[in-house]
Assembly symmetry: C2
Homo-oligomer: 161 residues x 2
């Protein structure tokens, strides 16, 4: 699969192999990250996407479902589902927005607030562990590379624009 040369010449990979390697390692890291959260005692219902929702609410203090959808890049329907699940588990509460009665405002419950504090700590520790093998120089290189990749933004046209 990967024009193999397991000695040291890893600079010789094709773009495709490099990209696949990136996808693979990223997937592994995400897996380890999520396992880390659980192993540090965070509730298992807190999947990656749900955690992202809570972090967004936490950062905002309070936020409309509307805006949450925009921030997370997901659709209103999807937010409703997250909110249903998170409310059922008592992580958040819905309150009607008095200034616009169509809207709903989300807030963390008190218990979720302390959970999020813990989550922040834990995420910091996990991140340190996952990246511990990288030298400072490699970290800067990685940032630079990611930055470059982000600014690339190749546009592949799809039928629907």
């Amino acid at each position: 699969m990967m024009s193999s040369d397991s000695s040291s010449g890893y600079g010789e990979l094709s773009a495709q192999d490099l990209l696949h390697l990136l996808f693979k390692i990223n997937h592994l890291l995400q897996r380890q990250f999520e396992m880390g959260l659980i192993s540090y005692g965070l509730p298992e219902q807190l999947t990656g996407p749900r955690l992202r929702v809570l972090l967004e609410i936490s950062a905002a203090g309070q936020i409309r479902m509307n805006e949450l959808a925009k921030n997370l890049g997901i659709k209103a329907r999807t937010v409703t589902q997250f909110v249903d699940a998170l409310q059922k588990d008592q992580f958040i509460v819905r309150t009607p927005d008095t200034s616009d009665r169509r809207a709903t405002i989300l807030q963390l419950t008190d218990s979720a607030k302390s959970l999020m504090e813990r989550a922040e700590e834990v995420m910091g520790e996990i991140s340190n562990k996952l990246l511990e093998r990288l030298t400072l120089e490699q970290r800067s290189q990685l940032v630079e590379i990611l930055w470059q990749l982000d600014s690339n933004r190749t546009e592949f046209s799809t039928k629907d624009g």
Copy 2:
């Protein structure tokens, strides 16, 4: 969210910010990769995971469902579903394994074979485009970094081992 310093000091990110940046860019790249496949005229049913299944079968020539599950790191039940879908779309065929009548062997159909040739080309082109902003040096650095991250393998214990 990200201890901001939008000038140039991107080497100063915390491990957590760096990891999140990685996750984000990776997600973006994967999205662009999939959009690229479609924009090059590959069938839309060919989602990322399904493509991976076909690539695995293609590489093997023929393969047992059993082994496919192992190679992809997914469960037998999940393979059945992929195979059902891919067979319905006439990308693959099931044939009984005469040497072990419990087993089923998978092969690409002829049309899928030529599709996969095309897919390989297209993936190469897309990869080149997505990584075109990286210098050769950055590519080596990235490989080195990913390699390092792969060898890290922090083990977070979960309840079930």
